[in-house]
Point group: none
Chain length 201, copies 4
Amino acid sequence: MPRSKEQFEEIRKKTKENILKAALKLFAKKGYHGTSINDIAKAAKISKGLAYNYFESKQKIIDAIFEEYFEEGAQFIEIMDSIKDPYEKLRLMIEFTFKYYEENEEQWLLYASFIFQPEVLKKGKKLAAKFNQKYLEKMEEVFKALGFKNPKMELRFLGALLDGVGVDYFFDKSFFPLNEMKIFLLEKYSKEEIMRIVNSN
Amino acid sequence: MPRSKEQFEEIRKKTKENILKAALKLFAKKGYHGTSINDIAKAAKISKGLAYNYFESKQKIIDAIFEEYFEEGAQFIEIMDSIKDPYEKLRLMIEFTFKYYEENEEQWLLYASFIFQPEVLKKGKKLAAKFNQKYLEKMEEVFKALGFKNPKMELRFLGALLDGVGVDYFFDKSFFPLNEMKIFLLEKYSKEEIMRIVNSN
Amino acid sequence: MPRSKEQFEEIRKKTKENILKAALKLFAKKGYHGTSINDIAKAAKISKGLAYNYFESKQKIIDAIFEEYFEEGAQFIEIMDSIKDPYEKLRLMIEFTFKYYEENEEQWLLYASFIFQPEVLKKGKKLAAKFNQKYLEKMEEVFKALGFKNPKMELRFLGALLDGVGVDYFFDKSFFPLNEMKIFLLEKYSKEEIMRIVNSN
Amino acid sequence: MPRSKEQFEEIRKKTKENILKAALKLFAKKGYHGTSINDIAKAAKISKGLAYNYFESKQKIIDAIFEEYFEEGAQFIEIMDSIKDPYEKLRLMIEFTFKYYEENEEQWLLYASFIFQPEVLKKGKKLAAKFNQKYLEKMEEVFKALGFKNPKMELRFLGALLDGVGVDYFFDKSFFPLNEMKIFLLEKYSKEEIMRIVNSN
DNA sequence: TATGAATGAGATTTCATTCAT
DNA sequence: AATGAATGAAATCTCATTCAT
């Protein structure tokens, strides 16, 4: 008697996730080209052939990883939308970023290393650009609401800052004071400080 | 008439530079693994065999590129050392960074895409870490001299910011207001502004 | 209530026929190697595993198809045997061939494409050679009875002609005047014409 | 000192021809899918890699073989064009066909086995159809000039006959009386015989 | 110095067949 | 009887490196 449809789906889902997890780890460490399907299969403890039962090519594996990445991004935007207070939004933007760095090292490394090689991952670049634009638009509204004189540039400033924190942190994790930096930033962007800056103009 | 030793060396140097230039362009665009020796040879308009006459492996080519990169870095530190005024040093740090982004796109892209894949370029990573540490130490002295309350974090802050500007700019050059950002930053880190901040503590 | 033995056998027979039909279609269109077991299973709307319940290998499927092919051939010879008049036999040889071309395209295409690759289908080749020889022997008797001066060559002539009609017809069905050719041949090989030729010698 | 351009071209030409010859032999015997690049490389006594230096894919190898095949066909048409006497043209059509069967077994087998699997070789099929049409057009003029009552069908008749001779001959070379058939046909299509037929209408 | 033919190891991919349920 | 996940061998193809000239 064959397995039921549900059982098959369960198996597929698990194995798929298993492959993606193994692939993410390896891609992040050794790069896309530096990781072979063989490597992935071994790490996932399956045969090479089975990997192709789930993803029709190596490219499709990395595509799936990036899709998941931006699905998480979309979720983050939804959370942001649900919050009304701009000071709170600002705080969340900072805290979420640091949380992401702490919990999603591999994802971030992969993202970072690929984003600068658009020929390697055209699809990912497009997704990223789209997400980025949407995010910036939404945050610009927040910065306007906060009363900044030059909200666009202030947003770009903070955006670059947070990205750079990721770069510097992952460049040498043991050397970069991530937590200290979070406190430092939350202080600089606290409600009191912002009001002080805005009113001093 | 045989060429003189000098002429030979001149030719070798030029060909070498030619190969490195072609390789840099391709690596930056298509990645290390995505670029074949054949691609490089074609771009440099030489034969594959000749490339091996100059570099004993593909790895050595990328190593040479990174060496050049950090030689430039060392030169920058020398320039910084020659300047005494801390306000001027700070201004130079910012201006030099923006200048580099504008003039050395490929170098930066290559650097950025490799730095997050340590297994791909162990040697480069080490060089970078060494340079970085030295640079931060020197700059911390500057930030102390400027009178910042928390010079270490303020330096980290500016460092992250400048790195993030690179990330955001190269992510989508047409979309990022690079020049506006430079002016914005030079304003924020002008002598007047710094003195104001420092004195308000 | 369990099914009876007869019902089971009925199901098996139908499924088997179903698989063979699907396989024939695909083999004819995409070739033996170009058709996967998966393709066949999908076309037959069963699972891969079930196909192996019926045929122990892909090879056995094509073997079964060829067996059926030559069973039909044997039936044809039986029909021929039951007819006594040589003029009628000749007419039947021609008409049957054209009928076969019109009704069994896939069978013929498969046969034609395989027969010239003996290494691919040794068993089929042998069966074909055996059938062929038997057929020629029987037909030679007919041609002798018709009074041809050189019955062997006349038979070879007509045999080649009919094979060639198949080749030319299937090469481009819309371009070849199959029906016209049938009429043309039946005329050339009519009783009157044959008597005329035979008597003119 | 590198080889001269001419030397390189000479090498390429020879190796290319070498590969094509080995491939033709194997394809004819074992079929396209039944022959691996490895097989070809071994037969040509080169490495797999080198095969790809000359042909970018297995498909391109078979394409090249078919191209050569139809180039020869074009040459044949040219020869035919240079002859004016229709009786002579007819004789040549027959003699050339038999000559081809005798001297180009592998080419013909390959052609025959592929022509019925259009999905395997779309390009070849197109080339063949084009050649065929052109050839038939030209020959129809010949058959008209010979005075046949139904030139189109008579041409189709002879065309099918010659194709069928190929089929039957290659099906079992030791069994088919090729030379006898040639004499038989040249007799049937001799000037005297044709004039007799044409005038008896 | 210079060329590109040639190699061979290893990568991606396919698929007949087996297996657990 | 029936399913499709899983395997593994073999196929196609790539490319850094070497070699003959």
